[in-house]
Amino acid sequence: MLKIENMTKRFGGLTAVNNVSAEFEQGKISAIIGPNGAGKTTFFNLVAGTHKPTSGRILFKGTDITNLSADQIARLGVARTFQTTHLFEQASVFDNLIVGHRLRTRSGFWDVVFNSRRLREEERACREKAEEVLEFVGLSHIAHRMIADISQEERKRVAFALAMATEPSIVLLDEPAGGVNPEETVGLAELIKKMVKHGLTVCLIEHKMDMIMNLADTIMVLDHGEKIAEGTPAEIRSNPKVIEAYLGSEHAAA
């Protein structure tokens, strides 16, 4: 599904991501973990096209997307959510979601002036999509609420819904359970499983180890921009390099 070959990103003298190769398989949940500043979000930014890698290649379903822009990559089917949800606070949940399907529509200025049939059909399609994804994330009952009035967990769900509205085949979730309490985290993990059951491939960054260990099929560990380990949750848990990165070398030795 998504293949990264020897990807490196340098910001001036800082190497944020260093020669990382990885493969994310269709229908799997892959997690990226690592200490703060390990380059996890940069990794997502490179895959999603927000930044261009200094070297290396990114292949999505076999096509090279290394030099495509973020919006082109989104149209190919790579969706993402952000640590901070970036939602429009002064609008309702439903209004926030309508634009999520915009990339699958083609209406331009003249369609708007003449209120063309295409525009009307596409507006309807966007609304239907918004209803569908809202139902999917279980928030139909708060469709009318202002974003400013909903909880952090609900915001995360709206962000998932927005990503789903783009009709992606892979979703990159950056700290999907950040700032969310333990019970709600379980609910979000269920939702992620539901997305996979729906045919999506999921890749997520997360600090909540309980969630990751239960959810992920494979885990990739980044530290100082380098991939230090990769494997199943059980393998990662017992990997001395990972323990060192997280807890310091004395613990690893003990």
Binding site: R102, V112, C126
Partner: protein, 335 residues
């Protein structure tokens, strides 16, 4: 209130605008009102790029001046028909807007604003120094008014008032179309967060350029109307003072609201008209009024009302949902 913020309010305003000349005490007030309508068109353009798309364009008055000079110079120096020149006033402004937009929109946020501030300054300098084309500081005099279209003559001040009113309604109708459509939602998504908009597959550059060109076309048409109403132009029309006037109009009325530019322009125009007797001291009264407004209504008048309405609608929908949920629960327990 809901009725007044929707079609009802728009119709009411239109009826009031149509009746205004009947109650106006003199010709000058009708003229002042039609000038205000022209600034509404220009401010609506600014509102599209700044209020809806989130890009603060400080060269907006420059584009009004480009439209105005296009009409003035073509009619006075080259003998063009008024309406042909008027059509070109919007197109020339939009074309220059396209060129400026392609370069300036590569910059973000305040860098974009500062760049456009410089663009506005360059336009002003060109209008003032390029005497061979623009008549320099002497300005353009003797610009003809709108010519007759068939049996419709626009000789009188009253006829011009209705002409400007009709064009303003047309401009606002078009704005309404744009901002309530998928296209408007696209612009708002860019204002809200460029990062998120891009991740949703929205081409930032293409959409920003479209918003910028539309806004400069509106500025150009407003400029053409201005030239046909005032009949005299000088380079000061392009000065940044006029841009800041328009920003004030939009802020008072509500940035990013359809009717904000209308309400804001009319209120500021008439308040400063009635403070005229204070001469230069009127800003001492006007300044604090503006400060109070920004403190208590940071979203402007229309923005404040829309927010109240949206909150109330959300509460009502919530109450209705609770009500039906309770009813369902009761039905279940009864069964």
């Amino acid at each position: 209130m809901k009725f007044l913020l929707g079609k009802g309010g728009a119709l009411l305003c239109l009826v009031l605008a149509i009746l205004f000349p009947l109650v106006a005490s003199n010709e000058y007030h009708i003229y002042l009102m039609s000038l205000a309508f022209i600034w509404v068109i220009a401010t609506a353009g600014l509102n599209l790029i700044t209020g809806y798309t989130g890009q603060l364009n400080l060269a907006h008055a420059g584009f009004v001046a480009i439209g105005a000079y296009t009409l003035g110079l073509l009619t006075v120096d080259y003998g063009f028909n008024f309406w042909l020149a008027f059509l070109l006033s919007g197109l020339v402004s939009g074309l220059i807007g396209l060129l400026v937009g392609i370069v300036s929109l590569r910059l973000k946020e305040h860098y974009f604003a500062i760049f456009t501030l410089c663009v506005g300054f360059i336009i002003w300098q060109l209008l003032e120094k390029w005497e061979g084309l623009t008549h320099g500081v002497h300005g353009v005099i003797g610009i003809p008014g709108p010519g007759a279209i068939g049996p419709l003559s626009f000789e009188s001040g009253l006829a011009q008032y209705y002409l400007v009113l009709a064009l303003m309604v047309l401009a606002l109708w078009l704005m309404h179309r744009v901002v309530t459509s998928l296209l408007g939602r696209t612009f708002i998504a860019i204002r809200n967060s460029e990062e998120l908009a891009e991740a949703l597959g929205i081409n930032l550059m293409r959409n920003k350029i479209l918003a910028f060109v539309l806004s400069t076309v509106m500025a150009g048409f407003a400029g053409g109307l201005y030239a046909g109403s005032v009949r005299f132009l000088d380079p000061n029309l392009s000065s940044v003072t006029h841009t800041f006037d328009m920003i004030t109009y939009a802020l008072v009325g509500g940035l990013g609201t359809l009717f904000g530019p209308v309400i804001g322009t009319l209120i500021v125009t008439w308040v400063s008209q009635y403070l005229q007797f204070l001469q230069d001291y009127r800003m001492i009264v006007f300044g604090p009024l503006l400060v109070l407004l920004v403190i208590f209504f940071p979203r402007g008048i229309m923005g404040h009302m829309q927010q109240r309405l949206a909150q109330r609608a959300a509460q009502q929908a919530e109450a209705a949902r609770r009500g039906s949920a309770n009813a369902a629960q009761e039905a279940e327990t009864n069964a």
